[in-house]
Symmetry: C2
Subunit: 129 residues, 2 copies
Amino acid sequence: MSPRLRAVAHLRLRLSDDLSIGPGKARLLEAIAETGSIAAAGRRLKMSYKRAWSLVEEMNRAFAEPLVTSARGGSSGGGASLTATGRQVAAGYRRVEERAEAAVAEEISALRSLLAPTGTPQEGSRNEK
Amino acid sequence: MSPRLRAVAHLRLRLSDDLSIGPGKARLLEAIAETGSIAAAGRRLKMSYKRAWSLVEEMNRAFAEPLVTSARGGSSGGGASLTATGRQVAAGYRRVEERAEAAVAEEISALRSLLAPTGTPQEGSRNEK
């Protein structure tokens, strides 16, 4: 096992009955900030353009201020960037991940102590059917 | 929004390079404890028998002691139950969830404060294409 393997592998947060944010939306926001483009962010995450737009629209609708502003077409070819709210949400998701990781460390150690030693699979484990 | 909507909607924990435990495996262990049967637990979770067995085998192999013991066939029709380790893992996952939920409460409040008021969707949100 990697010495500092992160325990929180996937965390989806329910912000309201209508909106959850998980690693996919968080990475999309970060990729938009880094690439300046919804299309490029989608490509980086191996997400279709339609899917990337649909997630952006879902988030923009759910918040009081949009998270992503974009100019489609035009001489710039349609850049996109995060608003102040978008940056808050992206950073907030990562802070939540960090807090969750820190909070569960003790319980995770206890669970990991129950694992079989690496490289010595259990005798008699059922592999067939 | 429900007044006490849980924020942690989905939490998958990476215990080792080879084993993660998320809500599916946790619910499967709980359902085996409650129904006394892997098949019945799978049905309750709308999971195929094969899938339920495969998850049980994966967990049994990963831990030093199996989490689930089962007697296939025989007069009892093949009951299954959690071992002491199985109960520790099932309870441990739920404690981790509780700790994560408590740890993120403050950040979640901040993120929720950015949401649009319920029932008043943003003007000009993009719905087409």
